[in-house]
Amino acid sequence: MASLEERLSALFDGECEAAEAASITQAYSSNPDLQAAWVHYELLGESLRHGRLDPAVGSRTDFVAGVMAAIQPVVITQSPAAVSDLPSGLKPALTPDTTREPAANDAVFRWKMVAGLASMAAVATLVWQVAVAPAPGAGAQLALQSSPAGSQAPVFQAVVTERGVMLRDPQLDELMAAHRQYGGMSALQMPAGFLRNATYDIQQR
């Protein structure tokens, strides 16, 4: 039986049957070695295509490990200052490294964290960033919900999937599904978008 990496290599080369593709993509999600190998194949492809390699990228053989180490969890604060800041601008909500006071309760959310290559690499660098602040007017209710014992906010569900434990927001998942169903208003929908939307995994509702 070929090793996992050999099978991934076959997938990359388009020499892989459907059933094999399924099992490899499932293994990929939970296997950092396979993820690094995919990145390597893409890098290799880019260097062959363009005859050069971005030196910054090429030297980062342990890029994946480096990015994972550098990713900091997003800490949520419930200070009134954060609430009043929001209406004036969106930047605080969108910047993950905005300085915030640590919350008294356990309010660290990590929906999902992924590392990849930047720039020349053909594999996405994906960081799931959840920058959260209490909605105006919901502060009091939130305080009641967030106990010092550090329970997760009721909105999120820890779901055990074949990809491991993930924090999912069912409300957002539902909107995402609706966007894929009705929001694909694109000239690329027929050539590829529809196939993409039909392939994506959706949470059972």
Binding site: A2, S9, A10, F12, D13, G14, A18, A22, T25, Q26, Y28, H40, L44, S47, L48, G51, L53, P55, G58, A93, L94, V114, A118, S119, A122, A124, T125, W128, Q129, V130, A131, V132, P134, A135, A138, V155, R163, E174, L175, M176, H179, Q181, Y182, G183, G184, M185, S186, A187, L188, Q189, M190, P191, A192, F194, L195, A198, T199, D201, Q203, Q204
Partner: protein, 339 residues
């Protein structure tokens, strides 16, 4: 170890060493060679027509992978057409078992686990070429097409073409179009720095496969053992729902607006308002603010798709789309209630 794997390993080591030692000058020389395709640039409209034409004319079977980092999903695809209609079957190979059957804009989604089949018509599949002809929808104002070299994908030679955004409100796309048929064999969504946010690609492809149209048609019409559900899509207008945009987000036009059947059972319906610039779409989900459900304003990223949720007066808005987060911010800021 297979020969292919070994040869890739050694070739990879050699190629990487060579490329690292190569000077920039050599790379520049290599990029000066032009292919005949580059000398006659079809333009973005020409390319989009070619990509669409391929799906209308050729049958194929393949394995399709969608990836955005460490998350991957795969499906098996059968596609057939007879010049007037297209039939397609997409069977998920990962995650929830699901078979989607499409005949032009009619879509049936079979979910074996719950024995439910959803039947609906998708507006988004009827758009082209009207999408490009709609007044004000000048896709060339926002994207440029640039043809690149020929590369090999899933065993086929494909021309690389970039759809490059002209501003920073949208993402770019790199498309590998099979040389003879024009079929999209690979597509990447890229940000302004060229970073790949999402990729879809055939990993296995058989062109002109002997897929029989009547076989797919029969599968589509066979709902035995399944409960048929027709999701309601009640069309409406933003004005009727009491919303307007105080300012256009450059390039994006309102495409559709409908009421959503609320899965939460809440009495006030929510609205989905869809915008597009021709290639990227944004959905604005508008509902009445509910403190029990709407507890946290947040910005979330998932590959090429971003979302932004916040309270706007007595309503809760979630903007979601394959655009930079800042663009979603512009949508939310421009939203206004009219009553």
């Amino acid at each position: 170890m297979s020969f292919a794997y070994l040869s890739k390993f050694f070739f990879g080591v050699g190629a990487l060493t060579l490329s690292l030692l190569t000077s920039t000058g050599w790379a520049q020389d290599a990029s000066k060679t032009t292919t005949p395709a580059q000398q006659q640039e079809p333009g973005i409209r020409g390319w989009l027509e070619r990509l669409h034409e391929a799906a209308r004319r050729r049958a194929y079977v393949g394995t399709f992978i969608v990836s955005n980092g460490t998350e991957m999903a795969a499906s098996k695809i059968w596609h057939v057409c007879d010049g007037t209609q297209q039939l397609e079957r997409i069977e998920t190979l990962t995650g929830q078992r699901r078979t989607t059957l499409r005949r032009n804009d009619e879509v049936m989604t079979f979910i074996p686990e719950s024995k439910v089949v959803m039947k609906e018509r998708r507006d988004s599949l009827r758009l082209f070429p009207d999408l490009l002809q709609a007044p004000g929808q000048q896709i060339e104002a926002f994207y440029t097409a640039r043809t690149g070299p020929v590369e090999r994908v899933a065993g086929f030679d494909a021309t690389v073409v970039d759809f490059i955004p002209k501003d920073n409100l949208r993402y770019g796309y790199r498309i590998w179009s099979e040389k003879n048929t024009g079929l999209v064999v690979k597509l990447q969504t890229r940000d302004l720095e060229g970073k790949v946010l999402e990729q879809v690609a055939f990993t296995e492809l058989q062109l002109d496969a002997p897929v029989r149209l009547e076989v797919l048609a029969r599968q589509m019409d066979n709902t035995a053992g399944y409960q048929l559900v027709r999701p309601e899509q009640r069309k409406t207008t933003p004005e009727a729902e009491g919303w307007r945009m105080t300012k256009d987000v450059t390039g994006f036009q309102s495409m559709s607006c409908h009421l959503r059947s609320d899965a939460n059972g809440s009495k006030s319906p929510s609205v989905q308002w869809v915008f597009s610039d021709g290639l990227a779409s944004v959905s604005l989900f508008l509902e009445t603010f509910d403190p029990k459900r709407h507890t946290k304003e947040r910005a979330v990223s998932d590959g090429a798709t971003h979302s932004l949720s916040r309270r706007v007066g007595e309503h809760w808005v979630t903007a979601l789309g394959e655009v930079p987060p800042e663009t979603l911010g512009l949508f939310v800021q421009a939203l206004e209630r009219t009553r």
